[in-house]
Each structure stands twice: as C-alpha cells, then as structure tokens.
C-alpha cells in the first residue's frame, strides 16, 4: 500500500518548516504526528502536537509573514502540501473551501485565549517581592 501513500514522508526529527523562513504553502497531516515549537530567547518552547487531518502552516496562506514556528516530525509523518496560490484561487471561486481552515484558526484562538487567561491569573496570584 506504500505506493498509494499520497504526500511526502518526513523522518522522525526532520524539520518540515522552520521559524523565520518564508512559506508559500500549508501542510495537511495524512499520517503520524508533528510537533510545533517556537524558539524564544535561545530556548525552544513546545506549543502543541498535531495529528492526522490537522493543518499546519495555514497562516502563510493568508499573510505574507515568515513562519511563526518550527514544525518537526515526531516519528515518521506523512504530509500533503497545499500550494498557497492555487488554494487562494480556489477560495476565491468557492469561499466555503476556507471553512475548515477558519475552524482550525478559530479553535487555536480559543485555546490561546484560555492559555493567556491562565498565565495572567498565575501572574496575578504570584506573591509580589517581599517589602523591606
């Protein structure tokens, strides 16, 4: 069945896209898992793990910014590349094609809001510096 596996396979640890690089495509995971990490102040912070059917790199489709994170294979992962230009043209012809991407982005905004709220609460609850 390997001959029928669409997309491209990345080996465990291989980088699919790198933070700071320009991108003109998004990826859809067909099989396996990938991790999303952000490098900040010389440290690597793991944001999330993605699985089958999930999109990654979709921000590059809608904005001309560099990649905001690095994505690496966790075990072998098979992904299918979706070209930015072709996708935008199709969305222009059929806007409903963007529903799932918007759904993914919406879900991520929700998760981020929860994480921001949690961080702010932790910051608020943290005891201040001891007074002299």
């Amino acid at each position: 069945m390997e001959a029928g596996a669409l997309g491209k396979t990345y080996k465990s640890g291989e980088t699919m896209m790198r933070q700071g690089e320009s991108g003109d495509s998004m990826y859809v995971i067909q099989d396996g898992q990938a991790e999303v990490v952000v490098e900040k102040g010389g440290r690597e912070i793991r944001l999330r793990t993605l699985g089958r059917g999930e999109f990654v790199g979709e921000m590059a489709v809608f904005e001309r910014e560099t990649r905001s994170a690095t994505v690496r294979a966790v075990g072998d992962v098979r992904v299918l590349t979706v070209d930015r230009r072709g996708l935008l043209k199709r969305i222009q012809e059929d806007p409903s094609l963007a529903f799932r991407i918007m759904e993914t982005m919406s879900r991520r905004v929700r998760t981020l809001s929860e994480e921001v709220a949690l961080l702010r609460r932790e910051e608020h609850d943290r005891p201040g510096p001891a007074s002299a």
Partner: protein
Amino acid sequence: MRTANSKAPLSSHAPGARAETPDHGLRLNDGARVAVVGGGPAGSFFGYFLLELAERAGVRLKVDVYEPRDFSAAAPAGCNMCGGIVSESLVQALVTEGISIPPTVVQRGIDSYVLHTDVGSVRIETPLREMRIAAVFRGPGPRDVRRVKWGSFDGFLQNRVREKGAEVKRGRVQEIDRESGRPRVRTKDGSLETYDLVAVAVGVNSAALASLQNVVPEYRPPRTTKTFIGEYYLGEAGVAAVLGSSMHVFLLSIPRLEFAAIIPKGDYATVCLLGREIDNELVREFLESPAVRECLPPESYAGQSSCHCRPSINVGGAVRPFSDRIVFIGDCGYTRLYKDGIGAAYRTAKAAATTALFHGVSAADFEKHYWPACRAIGDDNRIGALTFAVTRRVQGAGFLLRAMLRMTSVEQRRAGEHRRMSLVLWDLFTGSASYRNIFLRTLRPAFVARFVWNLTVSILKKDRF
C-alpha cells in the same frame, strides 16, 4: 415522515414545507428531503457537501442516495468505466475539505509524467517531488481481479456520505415525475418517494439518463464521444518496474488518435485512448507503435487485456441542467474536456449544494448561482479545444516536437531554471490548471522567446532524443 405513496400535499407546517411565496422562493428548510440519483463521485460529493454545509448552518436534512451498484463487488458490477485519475488540484482541495484519500484506496501515487512522442520522450517531475496525484479504480478493479487489495474510490466517497448521515438506497431509479410541483422518484422495485430536491448524477453512460431527463423538458444531455479504456495485468512489481510512479502520456502521429495515456495502478496498467472512431485496429496500432512497445512491452502483460470498455465521455455541456427542485450535476451536466472529470464533478456538485442550501432550489436560484460554475467550465473547454487543436498540429511536426522536448529536458536538468514548458505540459496533462491559464502562459513573451530559442538550437544541432 411521509409514506412512499402518500398523495396528500405537505401542509405548510410540515417539516421542509415552507410556503412557496415569491418572498421566500423554494428553499431547503429544516426537515427537507433530498434525493441524489447516482452514487458516483458527483452524487457522493453533492450529498456530502450538502450535509456538511447544512450541519454548519444548523439545518437538518434527510438525504437519500440512490445507487444500485455495489462498489465492493468485483467488476464489472462496481465498475464506473473511467481512467481513474484524481488530479493534483483536486487532491489538494479535498484535503483542505477534510477528505484525505487513504493508501488503501490509492492504487498508486503519481509524482511525474513521461511524455512520449514519435521523436523521443521526456520526464516531467513535480517541483516538490511529492505524490499529489492519485491513480484509483472507481470500482474494486478489472474483471479478472484476483483479490480485492485496494478499496474502490466511489465506495470510499460513498462511505463518507453515509458517515455524514445519508441513506444509500440500492433501488434502481426508473422515473422522476412531479406531484404538486415536488419531484417524485420511482424505483424499479416499486418504491415511490417525494422530495424537496432531486440531484441527478447518473453520468452519460447510464441508460437511466434518457428516462430521467423527461422531467425537465428544456434539458438536453451533453454531446458525447467514445473512448477506449483497457486494463492490463502486470502484477504490482511489474507495474513498478515498467511504469514506476509516472503517468505516461503519448502524442503520436497515429491517424484518428488524439491523445493517449498509460496509468500505473496497483497490479494493472490502465490504457486510455481518446480519438475519433476508436476501434480494435486503432488500439492495436497504438499498442504496437515503437514508443508504446518501449514503454509497455507486450511480454509485460502477456499480450492481452484483462478487460476493456468503450465508454462515452461528455465533450459538450448539457442545455439547461436544472429546473425548479431538480439539478443535473457531474458528467450529465458539465465536465472538463478530456481531463479531470472527477474534479469537475466536485466543482459542479459543490456549486449545486451551496446554491441549494444558501440560496434556494428554484430554477432561478440555480440559474443565478449554479449555472455560472457550469458556464465557466464550458468557456474554459472552448479554450481547451483550441489547445488540443494546437497540440494535434505539434504532434505531426517533428521539428516542433523536438523543440518542445529540448526546452522541457533543459528545464528538468537545470536546477533553478524557470520551468515554463514543463509547467505548461504538466498542467495540460494533469488537468491541474484551467485551459485558459495554460493557454495564456504560452502567449507570454518569455515563453515564446525561450521556445523560439530552443527551436533554433534544436534545428541547428539536429536533436535526437
């Protein structure tokens, strides 16, 4: 729920029966019933997207898909007589829609094309070197299939529409008529059901089309032509060794033959021929031509096909493929000329589904929102016909063929080279771009200049490929 033979008109309070006033038009409301006649790709895509969009919009629909064939049964019962290519652009659109075709259905991923001509051949690879074209069998495989190893593509799509909540009915539809303006579907086994919308997706090879079209008197089926599709058993290792993961396309100066392709599948090679009055003689002439013998030696398939057919394909659009509450989609409506029939089924099915859900199901709604999608395909096909006419000219002119092969092979050899000809040929053979887009690219000054340069060099160097 209304019974099959109920004659009573729906009350204005019944589900799906909103009053049909000019203000509201004909709409699919909560509880509306929809029939899809034909469960090939167009029918399954229509059912799938209608239910998907309805779910997002919070509208409950009851969808019945009528398909007498069992796609899990060995051919010819489940066969749909098709080359079986899911184009690069469709594979990408489908994954974006959440539909990934699994390796259990894809007989072989295609990552390159080899163009064979009378003066030589050239390989064209996708820039990403990624498998993004799927070679599939619409049914479980050819007549002599020894063991069903791969699933059918039509069966895969049918399972997706079933998972979305549609009911697949095995009855063969015999007639569609109307009762109080609503279409009624009568099957051969005597069932009779009334619907708020019927989508007809029976293709152009079904005898049913002649009897079903009467319900829309203005509808005229598309013009068709015959093709040849043959399956040749090589075994999985044989296919890999002989054809690899490339689709092989042929531009040969054989009279009556316009275009030919050999597609690698799991255990088989599918041979597709397009042309005028394709008969056994033309098939034999093609298979015995030097370019084909080199690509597919007769000893690799024991000199005979496992099965073959001569299905019709749509080469002109249907006239007025809609009326109040009835729409014709896929091949019995509009499709792309020679290429990407499954992609056209997706486009027309989705355009019809979005029209039905978001705008309404009257003839005026389909004319305003569905018809433009059909017309766009038709307009593009006219440019496609012109492109194929030019291709036919090139086919018969060795010096032009040599210049084309030279330009392509130089682009393929040199990293960073602008792949002008490669992309034109890739998009033309894969059906990945519109004919208009391809044609316009060939008119760009840079393309013309490169071609003239390669033509000159090719003549001076007396190229041999």
